[in-house]
Structure formats: structure tokens, C-alpha cells
């Protein structure tokens, strides 16, 4: 066991890539803190104490969906089923209008695969957001939705993405990746985009210069091998995308998402525990040497575990969100949104420096340590003296 840690550490220091076997062994390793410390080493080498968040909002315009994913508690199959709801364009736009006194920098839209809407609905949706706030970044539609649009409306991925881009689309969110491996994917989400199709959509977006995120839904029926396979497929795609040149897009952030069991087809499974959440963040950080950011999505793990994840490889907690319905439908009892002040506090309490970013990781505002209470300042001064005395 100790050998594994030494080997991994030596590889990390030498900038060498970890293998599939390394990844599986790290997942199996019992010493959570030792793995975390390695991931933290990489995280601090990349980002120091900087920890990113943004002011964003989520809108799910429809939960009508032709796919029947086992893990999903959100989507309703048909339009007239109880609980099924599709917003009018006006309703969707109003969500943003209501936020304009403290506007988000990003609108994040993820939907069910609705069979009855015209493609123009989505184009108009984006255009409307841009009319309300011309500089808002629209991070909308997972690769699974883009694949569905292409099939449903008879277009290529490039055509779908180009038209959406013309309507205001800025980047793609990472949802819909679930677990790539066919042994798992065929059982939990057999009737939507395959792994290859998901990756092809991202590849197309990257070729157009568009940034994307990628995710992994873990903690259900998959094995550690499936997780590592998944993460390495992300790594391979990123290698390919980075080889496209400086103008190409790439995967900005990888986001492990914890499976929540309530109200879906896998409700008999236990939810992954905090140890699994942290281990997954840490191994993701260690394996993905070509992806800059690992996000600990606080809605998925809860704010408390997300705070600890900032020492286990994550450098981003996502954003204020305001209104989240997908995890909520799966039994999450967590708050739907967090204020900017609460996010800053969460990051500071972890000993990190909060950095508000835009969707493309441009710095909006840094929040270096605020004025500390008097006692804390004294402590700091004492440290400063001690340091000076040792140096001199």
C-alpha cells in the first residue's frame, strides 16, 4: 500500500501520467488522508489557495423527457403526466428578469429531451436571455441534448451548435456523461447518447472553439474500474482537443456528481458516503493531469463535504445557483441556493482564497482575507514575527 503512494508521488513530482491501474489502486486504497494529501499537492501546485465560485442561476425549462434513465428522479416521460412541466419562453425569461437587481454572470440551462418543441424554441430562449442581459454567459444544453437535437431535427452536431451559438450559446455544461462504460451505460441510460456520441459532441464544440465541462455520475452500480475508465476517456478526449490548437476549446472542469437514490429507478441503493465523495474528487484530480479544474459541486455533496473537498483536490465549488430542481427531486435536503457571502465564508473557512470567476474562469473579483477579528489578527502578527526571526 505504501509502495503505491510512493510510486504515485514520484510520478506526480516528475510530472508523469498515472495509469489505469494506479487509478484503481488509489480508489481501493484505505488511507483516505494519504490520497487526499497527494491530490492536494497537485491542486496547490496548479492553483495555490485560489478557489473559484461564480454567480450563476440554473433554469430547467422542461422535465418532459423521452429517455428513461434509471438514476433520474427529475424527468417525467410525457407531457400530460402529473408533475410534467414545460415553461413558456416568457416564464423562462422571467426567471432571469427577477434576478436583475443582483444579476448572475451565467445562466445554466439543462432540460429533459422534449419530443414536442420546435428547435426555434431553444434559439428564442437563448436570444431572450441575451436581450435581458447582453453580457450574460449562456452555458446551456448537455451533449445528450445536443445529440437529441441533431437526431430529432435532422441536423449535424456542428449545425446544432452553430445555430445555438448564433443565438447566444457560450459553452456546454458537462451533464449527461453518467458512466461511459457500456456495461453500466446500457443498464442505467440505454436510450440516450452513447459515450462516443457524448464525446463527439464535445469534440465538435471544442473544434468550434467552445469550452465545455464534463461530469461523472458515481456511486450507483458502477465499479472503481468503470470510474477510472470514465475519467481516462475524459483525459484522452482532452489530449485530442488540446492537439487541435490554441483556438480550440477544451474541457475546463471535471465534475464528479454523487448519485442520489430517492424517487428513481435505483432507490434501493445507498447514496455514496462522504469518504467516497472525497476519494472520487481526489482520484479525479490525480488522474486528470490535462484538465485544469476539478469542481466539487456543493449541490451534489452538500456544502460541508464540498468544503473539505477543497483540500482533497477540488478548486471550484460552482456557484450561487439559486434554484436547483434535479438533485432536489432525488431527495437532496440541501438548500437550493447559497448567497455569495455564504460561498465566500465556506471557502475562507477551508483556509482558501475565494475568487469569483466568470464561466470561462476569467477573474471577476478576488476576495483575499477580510479584516479578521482582533484576536485572529494578533495570531497572524505573532506568526509574522516568528517567521522573520527564523529567517534572520
Amino acid at each position: 500500500m505504501a509502495d503505491l503512494l510512493e510510486t504515485v508521488e514520484a510520478k506526480l513530482r516528475a510530472g508523469e501520467r498515472l495509469s489505469f491501474d494506479d487509478g484503481v489502486a488509489l480508489f481501493r486504497h484505505k488511507d483516505l488522508l494519504a490520497i487526499g494529501r497527494l491530490a492536494n499537492f497537485v491542486r496547490e501546485r496548479l492553483h495555490g489557495d485560489r478557489t473559484y465560485f461564480n454567480k450563476n442561476m440554473r433554469i430547467e425549462v422542461t422535465n418532459v423527457c423521452v429517455a428513461s434513465c434509471l438514476f433520474c428522479s427529475f424527468a417525467k416521460l410525457e407531457e400530460d403526466m402529473p408533475g410534467a412541466h414545460t415553461m413558456t419562453l416568457q416564464e423562462a425569461w422571467r426567471e432571469l428578469e427577477q434576478r436583475m437587481d443582483d444579476p448572475p454572470s451565467e445562466v445554466h440551462v439543462v432540460n429533459g429531451l422534449h419530443p414536442g418543441l420546435p428547435f426555434s424554441y431553444y434559439e428564442e430562449l437563448l436570444k431572450g436571455f441575451k436581450r435581458i442581459k447582453p453580457d450574460v454567459h449562456l452555458k446551456c444544453f448537455t451533449a445528450v441534448e445536443v445529440h437529441f437535437f441533431a437526431q430529432h431535427y435532422g441536423m449535424t452536431y456542428a449545425q446544432v451548435l452553430t445555430q445555438l451559438q448564433q443565438a447566444g450559446l457560450g459553452s456546454l455544461p458537462g451533464g449527461g456523461a453518467e458512466i461511459f462504460h457500456p456495461e453500466v451505460r446500457s443498464r442505467i441510460s440505454h436510450d440516450k447518447a452513447t459515450a462516443d456520441e457524448y464525446l463527439a459532441v464535445h469534440r465538435t464544440a471544442h473544434a468550434m472553439g467552445m469550452m465545455t465541462n464534463m461530469t461523472m455520475l458515481y456511486g450507483h452500480i458502477e465499479t472503481f474500474e468503470h470510474r477510472v475508465d470514465h475519467i481516462l476517456r475524459v483525459r484522452t478526449q482532452q489530449d485530442e482537443s488540446r492537439a487541435m490548437g490554441a483556438n480550440a476549446g477544451k474541457v475546463q472542469a471535471f465534475i464528479p456528481l454523487a448519485f442520489h437514490p430517492d424517487g428513481n429507478g435505483m432507490k434501493n441503493l445507498p447514496a455514496p458516503t462522504a469518504v467516497d465523495d472525497l476519494r472520487t474528487i481526489a482520484v479525479s484530480r490525480l488522474l486528470l493531469d490535462n484538465v485544469e479544474h476539478i469542481k466539487s459541486y456543493w449541490v451534489s455533496s452538500g456544502p460541508d463535504v464540498a468544503q473539505i473537498a477543497l483540500s482533497f483536490g477540488a478548486d471550484d465549488v460552482d456557484g450561487t445557483i439559486v434554484h436547483e430542481t434535479i438533485y432536489k427531486a432525488a431527495g437532496s435536503n440541501r438548500p437550493e441556493g447559497m448567497s455569495e457571502a455564504a460561498l465566500i465564508r465556506l471557502i475562507r473557512e477551508a483556509g482558501r482564497t475565494p475568487v469569483e470567476r466568470d464561466t470561462l474562469y476569467g477573474v471577476v473579483r478576488e476576495h483575499p482575507a477580510a479584516l479578521l477579528p482582533e484576536g485572529a489578527l494578533k495570531v497572524k502578527d505573532r506568526n509574522a514575527n516568528r517567521h522573520l526571526q527564523v529567517v534572520s
Partner: protein, 630 residues
Amino acid sequence: MAARQSPLRVAGVQYLNARPLYEGLAECSRIELTLGLPAEVARRIDEDEADVALMPIAAAATIGDLRMVRGSAIGARGAVRSVLIVADQPIEDVDEIALDLSSRTSVVLARLVMAMRRTRAPKYVGLPAGDALASVGGSRGALIIGDPALAIVGKYKYSLDLAQAWFEHTALPFVFAAWCGRPGAIGKDDERLFDDARVLGLRRRDAIADAWAMDRGLEPEPYRSYLREALRYGFGEDEIAGLRRFYDEAARARLLPKTQVRFFDEAPSRSMSVPSVDTLLSRAADGERLSAADGELLLERGSLFDLGLAADAVRRRKHPHDVVTYIVDRNVNYTNVCTTSCRFCAFYRPVGHPEGYVLSREQLGEKMQEVVDAGGVQILLQGGLNPELPLRWYEDLFRWIKAEYKLGLHALSPEEIIHIAGLESLSTREVLERLRAAGMDSLPGGGAEILVDRVRRKIAKAKCSSDGWLGVMRTAHQLGMRSSATMMYGTVDTPRDRVTHLVKLRELQDETGGFTAFFCWDFQHENGVRIEAGDHGTHLYLRQQALARLMLDNIDHVGASWVTQGPEIGQLALRFGADDFGSVMFEENVVSSAGTTYCINAEAIEARIRGAGFKATRRNVRYEWLTQPA
């Protein structure tokens, strides 16, 4: 005049070359002098059996964070005659050097000098002193130290005096040994004693050499000149520079840990005498006791991983079977009527309030039966300080519970005991004796909050003092009852207050041994309205618990407080020093009034224990295993 002082414990080395430094000390009444071999002397400092010891400098570096006495040392500026490499061929050409390993300082010096003189390092072979000398021949040389070295001068064709070689390369003297101790071990007046002893010893060098030689039936002259000419006993600027150079070179060659030369008299402020976080953590992980200052430093500067890994190591040492316990019990709050009105409490109701209650026998019986049905082993009975419930009420209740349900009675925190004593005009001992006779088994550790009265006055004015709380626990322990200990932080407390709290618990535990376990949590402020939250967060909770595991070396168990932190963080706490997952809770009114409403069953607790890499077992209040760990 001056306050009576405890004697200064000084350890000297019994070798001839050390005698001039300590002979004078033997006559000083303030000093308790013991003599030993270098390894024994180093152990005495390491284990705090001596305040100051004459230590070989390599041993001093290994212990780390020691201070030296200025003015006196054993050194040489040029040939010393007692530390030699000998061979039949030129030293530059030998392939192997047999090392007498009895002096690490000489071994390190030999390796450094050889590295300075040659591009290719010889092979080093460790051997006992006699064997090393016997193995010299051909291309093998040997490092010879002390008396054997003095005895072989001129007997080998080639020999290298290492102090001389050091001087030739560095133009600096070499220091072999100096007076060392922990920071603050001696004061200014004591330092003067060592100076006086050196002056006296230098005057007596010939007599010391003569006596030594006579004992062994040897000629005195070589020993006279050894003490007079070869050795130097001053410790001035040149010697300090030589020692610093040695430490730097040895650290660079990875032969010794990185070491700074520091003196007792240069530690006027606390900051200069603070050991590093790493030193503290490795000491604590090895079971050494941390001071309050150590604890504060760790809380300030120890990272999540630093503290977590050290606490995990302590947990593993204390509980090597990788088993985490939990208990099936029920927290019953028998009344919410309370006179204290703590500012952090959202549960209590004042006397006469329409929402005030006292549970009836029927209500209690129902709850008790549910515990029995669920395989529970104990009931945790706590409530407000209700002035309408006399001691008799508790005695009757306890006897009834014992007779009807045979459950363990983990009941009444110190605050409630003090309250009942006041109500009945009895001593707390009398109250505890009577309750014990009525069936009370143990006490929960609640209400400790922070055992610093400044903090207690601010958050819970009407509550008992720190001494009151500790006093009830002391008495209960003396009567043979066990209790847990707790800490609630995150109000107006500072890091120092939290460390003080831990030290007070540790001191009482030294006295009684009655605490079974420690739990901590941060103030749950959501609806607990009347006080601002202080230092908070999951990150701090895990660090704080880890520090408690490191500080509380005499308390067996540390429990994760999942009821307040949530089951996810409760699980993580198992990797930060905890070996217990608390109780399966049927209800917990106090914390849930403050907005925290976690509720999980035994199955979910076990899943989390196993998910963290442990086996799970049920326990009783004494932490005895009730089921096979699985």
C-alpha cells in the same frame, strides 16, 4: 530570599575528555549530576529525565529543537588524536572503511571529511569498536574513536586525524559535544554555573589526567597533553561557526536532520522556543504529551492533513483493530423547563411557559419500551433545570426504570446535579451517592461547553463555573461512575480557550481516569438566536477533533458528533481521530430545536463505518463490544 528551586538535573558523559566540563558541577548543591554513556545521556534529555546534558552534537540534532549553553563545549582546532581513520595504505586509496558506530558524531564527521577529500566515496561498513580495528588491512581502513585511538598513535602507517582534516578544509574548529537541553530548561543564573565549572575544570586538567591514567596503570603524560593541547573547552564565535558549518554540511549530505544552533539565552520570547508543527505532530503521534502552547500552535498552523494524519496515527495506536463502535440508546429530555436561559439554547422554556413540559411515566414508559424493542442498551436522560422536580422524583424515576426496563442509565449532566444539590441543600456528593443508589450508572458529559469562565459567563451566565463542572465529574469518578467529556465551541471562545478546555479535561483525567470518551461540536446557530457564531465550519470541526485526539492522550475514546455535524461529516471524523460513532438516535430535542435534524438508523451508521474502512460493533457505556465486529 529567592524562591526555593527544584534541583537542576544535569547528565554528563563519563569519558575522560568530558571531565573538565562537569567535575566542578559535582560540588554545586543546586545540581543533581548523573553520568552515563552518550546514548544514555541523550535518552535522559529526550525523556525529560535531565534538564541539561553534555551531548554529542549529532545526537542533539537527532532529538531536535534543543538549546545550548554558551561558553563551554568539547572541541578541537587542529589534531585531536582521539578520532582517527587508520589504514595500511594512504587513506585516499582505501576502498572500505570500517566504522565504529558508537559515536554518530565521529561517523558523520568521517563521511563529510572523506567526501571533502575524495571524489569517490569509499564503502562504509559498521562494526563494533574492537572488530573495526582488527579488520584493518589491505584496502580496508577503520574509524577509531576515544581510548583505542589514543592508544594506537603511530602504530599504523597511515592515519587521518579527522579534527585536523576538518580544520584544514574549513579553517574552523570542530565541536564534538555541548551542553544541551529543551528550550527554557535553565535560566541565566544556571548558565553561570556551567561557566564556573569549566574554569575550575580547566585548572584541574592535569589532576584529572593523572587520576585517569593511574586508575588504568598508564603513563599520565599523553593524557595530560590530550586534555591540555588537543582539546579545547571554549564555545566562542569560531566554534559556533564550525558547528553551524557541520550541521549544514551534514544536512546537505542527508546524514542529519536540518538543525540550527540555538542557545538558551536567545529565547526571550515564546516564539523562539516553539518547535515546528512537524516536530509536534510526530511527537504526539508517538504518544508524547503536548503542552498547551503546543496545542495552540497546532490549532493555529496545523493543516487539515497534518492534524488528521497524526490523529489517525494516535487512533490506530490506541485502537489497532480498525473497529469503530456505536451504541443503541435513546436521548430522552425529561423536561424542557429550565432556569438558566443559556443564550445558545433553543430548547428550554422558562417556568410557567405554556410550552413547558415534564414527561409522564406513560410517555417515558413508551419511549423506554421502544428502546428495548430496538435492542437498545441504555437511556440517556437529560433535561432542563426544573425547580419543581425534587431529588425524590429522580430517585423514584430511576428505580422504576431499573425495575421495569433494565436499561443502562446514562443520566444527568453536572449542571443538573448541581441544580438538584442547590434545590435540596445537599452536597453534590450526597446527591450523586443517592442517585447512584437509585440506579444511575454514568454521567453524560454535556454542559461542559468551554471550561473557561470568561466564556461561560458570556454564553451561559447562570450555569456552573468550570470548577463546578469539573468538581461534579471528579466526585462522580471517585464514586466509581464513569462519564464522557464534551466541548461545544464556536461562540466567543478563542483557540487558546479551546486548548485550555482540553488541558483541564486531561488534568482531571490524570487524577481520576473516569472519562470514557470525548466528543466535540460547534455551536449550532441556525435558530439558537441570541448569540453570534464564532469560529465555525466543517474544516475547523475536523481539525479541532483531531487536535483533541492529540492532546487527550489519557482518554481512550473520541466520538464523532454526527448528530450535530451530519452523518457525512461524522463519517469523515472517523479519519480524524474518532473511533466511535455515538448513538443511534431516536430523538434529540436540544439539537433539533436549533435546526439540526439528522436521523439515521443502525444500518446507516454501520454502512458509514464500513465505508470509511472500519468494522462496526455495538458497545455499552463502558465501550465494551456487544457484537462481533463486522
